[in-house]
């Protein structure tokens, strides 16, 4: 008899939990590592007790691959970079248009908002709005490599075996700029772009002997830089800022030809099931005090008005130490990737990787 009570109790408890679970909405975020700090998730769940947040950390390529595999199901809000939306949408139909009336766009920095809208509008529908922006550029150890200033310095023999880069499209674009080309302008003429890529590939193959290793993620880059195994590298600005906190000699260097700027966005996967919760999250993280928490975690600048001032103090110092107004004016925003370019760049990267340089 006693046992029976226990079982009924258990069943009742299970029914209760499933019932309350069914009521609660789940917001499944597909985003970058550090783009959903615990502090913000908790705060959000306190404000909207009926929403549970589930976070999956990823990167641009994996986000698209994951959404493509399911036709845009499995997640309610994704955060790819602004240049990776239009082509992916055209090819695989993985996003749905945003209802801008549900987003408080008035707080967003208008240049970023207009830029992202222009990049992600297909058939009159807008597919993304900006969230955070930052740059890719270089970093150096001031004590060891004081004169390091441009993309091509990575290949300078005086730093032989002491530089690093990530073998992804950023370094192709940076090298193209340092060779005097404008790769973004060549996106309209893919034959021209192929010529640039071939030139860049030859340069980077020649440079291979100069490179210690290609880094894969922020952690191995940090380890090499902090241990002194390398003195300069291609990097994300946020990684450089983090290292600056540990060793003030390590600074971010906007390359002479301009740092490459990216904007991470908010986009709705096509088969997302919690659009309202997604819009709530978007508006929530755009609130000023939440922007500070977010930027503190990501190390990137929010694409809202006065985003720089909303950075936590240490990050703001690192940014102002690295960028002059001139550097900011010289930023090169990643242009929309037209269909086909990914394949060309991929082939070029494979050529570089497969070459035996030393």
């Amino acid at each position: 008899m006693k046992r029976n009570f226990k079982i009924t109790g258990l069943v009742a408890a299970m029914m209760l939990t499933t019932a309350s679970y069914a009521q609660a909405e789940t917001l499944r975020l597909l985003t970058w590592g550090s783009y959903a700090p615990d502090e913000l998730v908790q705060k959000f769940e306190e404000r909207y007790p009926d929403i549970t947040v589930e976070v999956t950390f990823s990167n641009n390529e994996e986000m698209i691959a994951k959404l493509r595999a399911t036709g845009g199901a499995g997640f309610d809000l994704a955060q790819p970079s602004h240049d990776r939306i239009a082509a992916a949408q055209l090819e695989y139909d993985i996003y749905k248009p945003l209802d801008l009336s549900k987003i408080d766009t008035s707080v967003m920095e208008s240049s970023h908002l207009e830029g992202v809208k222009a990049n992600t509008t297909i058939d009159g529908e807008v597919y993304a709005v900006p969230h955070q922006w930052g740059t890719s550029g270089l970093m150096k150890n001031k004590a060891e490599a004081p004169d390091f200033a441009g993309w091509d310095d990575l290949c300078d023999p005086q730093y032989a075996g002491k530089t690093s880069m990530r073998l992804k499209r950023t370094i192709l674009l940076g090298t193209a700029f340092s060779m005097g080309h404008d790769p973004f302008a060549a996106y309209d003429d893919l034959d021209k772009y192929q010529e640039i890529l071939d030139e860049v590939a030859d340069k980077l193959i020649e440079c291979k002997a100069n490179i210690k290793a290609y880094w894969q993620g922020g952690d191995d880059l940090s380890a090499m830089m902090l241990s002194g195994e390398i003195v300069a590298s291609e990097t994300w600005d946020s990684t450089a800022y983090k290292l600056f906190a540990q060793n003030p000699d390590i600074v971010f260097v906007p390359p002479e030809t301009g740092a490459l700027a990216w904007i991470d966005t908010f986009a709705l996967p096509r088969k997302g099931k919690a659009d309202d919760a997604a819009y709530k999250w978007i508006n929530f993280v755009l609130e000023p005090e939440n922007v500070s928490i977010m930027s503190g975690s990501t190390g990137a600048i929010a694409a809202v008005k006065g985003g720089l001032d909303l950075l936590p103090e240490d990050k703001r110092n690192a940014v102002t130490a690295a960028f002059t107004d001139e550097d900011i004016a010289n930023l090169k925003f990643f242009a929309n990737i037209p269909p086909g370019v990914e394949d060309m760049e991929g082939k070029t990267l494979e050529r570089i990787k497969a070459a035996t340089g030393g």
Binding site: I64, E91, Y92, G161, L167, K208, K212, A213, S227, G228
Partner: protein, 288 residues
């Protein structure tokens, strides 16, 4: 009645295996074949054709990488056999009954740690500021730190370390079944140590050698983490090409084609290996 029950139990016993083979092996592969035969002509437009396979043949980078992966895998298999055989022989034949179990267990322990962690272990040991380099500096054997990572030798060493267990385990179990009297008889008939090894032990261990080599070769050719992490800038491994096709280039069609080419290539190498050594699956693997 009796035969019905027998048949039913056979079906029931066989069902999980059949389901597993069909749902998790056959079905996905059929999907991959179809995928690999789609040619992309425009966004969201595909045509049936062999374009992805033709691309592979026309691009030297791809087949060079495949050949490189294949030849390095053969080298790894050979080294694993060379190093693993004496260990297996010691465990199976020379060690006492009590230490046998302990030694076998010692061999298995590294398997409890994931591949990734073991690869990072190698990185910590071999990097320029790592344990090996610092130790050599300290002893005065070298004056400047040495980078041991990011070359083919490191990749081969790391791979041998990862796969050698899969060579030792089948070897131990085959050698275990060998009667010591056979070795003694060989010596009694005047055979030298080498003759005994060549004429008695190796033929007896052949089923273990063949199955060990097949497993090790397949694992090596299909491995991803070790070559990428230890090989650094010069490691081109075919699995990385497949990953790149799927993930960074969004080109699932040619990724699927590459997957099949890898499967076909490794199967071909195993078949050739069996032919060249005059073995068949039936009298080796099936026997062990």
């Amino acid at each position: 009645m009796q035969s019905d029950i027998k048949r039913l139990s056979l079906i029931l016993l066989f069902a999980p295996f059949a389901l597993w083979i069909f749902l998790l092996i056959a079905l996905p592969h059929i999907g991959m074949v179809i995928l690999s035969l789609r040619e992309k002509v425009a966004p969201r437009v595909y045509e049936f054709g062999f374009g992805n396979y033709i691309d592979f043949i026309q691009e030297p980078i791809y087949w060079n990488t495949l050949l490189r992966t294949g030849s390095m895998s053969i080298l790894v298999t050979f080294l694993a056999l060379l190093i693993g055989f004496p260990i297996a022989y010691y465990i199976a034949k020379i060690a006492g009954n009590r230490s046998k179990g302990a030694l076998f267990l010692l061999c298995l322990i590294p398997l409890w740690v994931s591949d990734l962690i073991r690869a990072f272990g190698w990185i910590l040991l071999l990097r320029e500021t790592g344990v090996a380099s610092s130790f050599l500096l300290w002893t005065g054997a070298i004056n400047e730190p040495i980078e041991f990572l990011y070359n083919d030798v490191t990749v081969v060493v790391g791979l041998v370390y990862t796969v050698i267990l899969f060579m030792i385990v089948p070897l131990v179990s085959t050698l275990d079944g060998m009667d010591d009297a056979m070795v003694e008889a060989g010596y009694n008939l005047g055979g030298s140590g080498f003759t005994v090894l060549r004429r008695i032990i190796i033929p007896y261990a052949m089923p273990g050698i063949v199955s060990g080599c097949i497993v090790v070769f397949m694992l090596t050719a299909g491995s991803y983490l070790t070559p990428i992490l230890l090989g650094g800038k010069n490691s081109s491994w075919f699995t990385e090409q497949i990953y790149d096709q799927f993930i960074t280039r969004f080109n699932w069609e040619s990724g699927a084609a590459f997957g099949f080419l890898l499967l076909a290539f490794t199967s071909l190498v195993v078949w050739l290996g069996l032919k060249l050594t005059g073995q068949t699956l039936a009298n080796t693997v099936a026997k062990s």
